[in-house]
Amino acid sequence: MPFSSELSRALSDQSPLLRRLERLIAPVDDAGLSRMARESTTLTRRYFGRTMRLFAPLYLSNECINSCSYCGFSKENAILRVTLELDEVAKEAEHLAAQGFRNILLVAGEHPKFVSGGYMEACLRRLTPLIPSVSLEVAPMETADYIPLVRAGAEGLVVYQETYHPETYAGMHLSGPKKDYAWRLDCPERAYEAGFRRIGIGALFGLWHWRDEALALAAQVEHLLRSCWKAQLTVSLPRLRPAAGEFQPTHPLPDREFIQLLCALRICFPQIGIVMSTREPSNLRDTVAPLGVTMMSAGSHTEPGGYTGQGKDHLHRTIRGRQIAAQGEGAEGQFAISDDRSPEAVAARLRDLGLEPVWKDWDAAILNAA
């Protein structure tokens, strides 16, 4: 049964693990939080050792046909847009590879015309000889449409539900295919069926009450551990950042509770990956790095062409599906990043914290992608 038809029952008739999570995310004093942090750290060391996987996002396009209140790429925003051409994508990837990255996440807004399946497949075929592990964070697709992308070497798929609260979801996603809550919620299972080996899920914290979001996220983890047992699961806890459109979080997740949630998830799910992006400031990232995080981005840009200035000569604004040429410094980012240290600086800091930055953890030869 797909998760969309199980979620409400999973929340009303909680599993023992969800009940445990609910207790762990209840208000806690400092001593209790410290105990949780110790347990979380111990479990993380046991299952992941003293290592941290590093990755970088590579934005392909900021075109989008969705209208989402909180996102900089929303079609309502009159921003400078671009879809990188293959050579430009390769130049960005070469830059990331030279910095050390052997694991990248290709990100794009949803636009079937500019960011088509064929385009993504071509990007993958161009990049996999250069980068051993390439994952995708793009609009949900049908299983059949994912299969060529897996064959082209895509290893992982990331899709965040944003909010698990259906009414809030409806209020945030005003138009476009993303309006369909269940289509998005069942995306990880479609991706698994197509053969993706790593699946990333998450909620965008700030849109709805964080404890409710956390329980639904955990319910999805439990579901996927059963239904997608061969996929490596990662969860991400992105908190809403400033972006074009000036949306303000209505239900903020404060730092202290953010740390509590991270530890609670680790305690309930010792073996899953936990991802932390550069949305968070350096001091917070350094604080939580040893506590339970297993995968970090570093030196990220959230605008297409952000690493090497690719695509500047074909910037435009997109109005009702038509591109109108425009000039500017570069394409707009999805959101403002907060930790702007270089990958090298992040790696050095991790070493100071007693963690080995792991750049390469996958070899494309395992799949022999043809």
Partner: protein, 262 residues
């Protein structure tokens, strides 16, 4: 009782094998390997650069001296026989020893080995001339089936990888040891030197340790602790543990009496 460990005709004086994942740095790993006295070191191929381009961001092999250690490539990351066989061939083609620790775990969370795919891959690789050391659940029948097709060892798990729970499969490991015609290496779940000693005292030929050393506060000292513990337990076995003497003493007074009466 042999003092040395013999695998596929090669002799080793250390009975402690080490894994190389989860260390805080390659330097710490190198020092822990040295302190452990190990002679067999396993490396996940997915962490290494096999292209020959000397990738500075994937240089784990530079920290393992092939003159000091037998480098045992492992196929961690492979989900089925086909992928594991491909990785093993790739490693051999890249100039690594034609030995392979066969590790196929389709489930990335519990990392439990797939018996069916492991058997299939072992069959292929043994035929191709590889020395195959398969990582398996503590299943005595599977262990025998693998020995029948010519694997060089069997490597049953004590408990799931990283769990540090010790020999939860003790009863089945005992059966595997009793029936073994190749060395039995207890792999995974060994969280403390006492667990390693327990496996050795049961009659295991060797143990493989990774997390317990790599994740220790001081991996070098922990490596030494495991070295001492494995050596002590082996020494005890060779000296004749009181619990084992009952059936190990060939010439007891009773035996002599019975023989005389014939």
């Amino acid at each position: 009782m042999s003092r040395t460990l013999k695998i596929a005709g090669r002799e080793f004086s250390s009975r402690l094998l080490l894994g190389t994942g989860k260390f805080s740095s390659n330097e710490t790993m190198r020092d822990a390997l040295a302190a452990s006295g190990t002679e067999i070191v396993t490396v996940a191929l997915r962490r290494a650069d096999l292209s020959g381009k000397k990738d500075p961001f994937a240089n784990i092999l530079d920290f393992i001296d092939p003159k000091k250690y037998l480098l045992l490539p492992n196929t961690s990351g492979a989900m089925n026989a086909e992928e594991a066989v491909r990785l093993a061939r790739l490693a051999a083609a890249a100039g690594l020893p034609q030995w392979v620790k066969l590790e196929i775990h389709p489930d990335p969370h519990y990392l439990l080995p797939d018996p069916i795919e492991t058997f299939k891959a072992a069959e292929i690789l043994v035929k191709e001339g590889f020395v195959v050391l398969p990582y398996i659940n503590a299943d005595p029948v599977l262990a025998k089936r693998l020995q029948d097709i010519g694997t060089a060892t069997v490597m049953p798990l004590g408990s799931p990888i990283g769990s540090n729970r010790g020999l939860e499969t003790r009863a089945q490991i005992a059966m595997i040891i009793n029936q073994a015609t190749v060395p039995v290496v207890v792999d995974a779940g060994i969280g403390a030197p006492s667990h390693a000693a327990e496996a050795m005292e049961m009659g295991a030929d060797a143990v493989l340790v990774n997390t317990a050393i790599a994740a220790a506060r001081d991996p070098v000292r922990m490596a030494r602790a495991f070295k001492v513990s494995v050596e002590a337990a082996r020494e005890a076995v060779e000296a004749g543990l009181p619990t084992q003497l009952d059936h190990a003493e060939a010439t007891s007074p009773l035996a002599a009496f019975l023989a005389a009466g014939k």
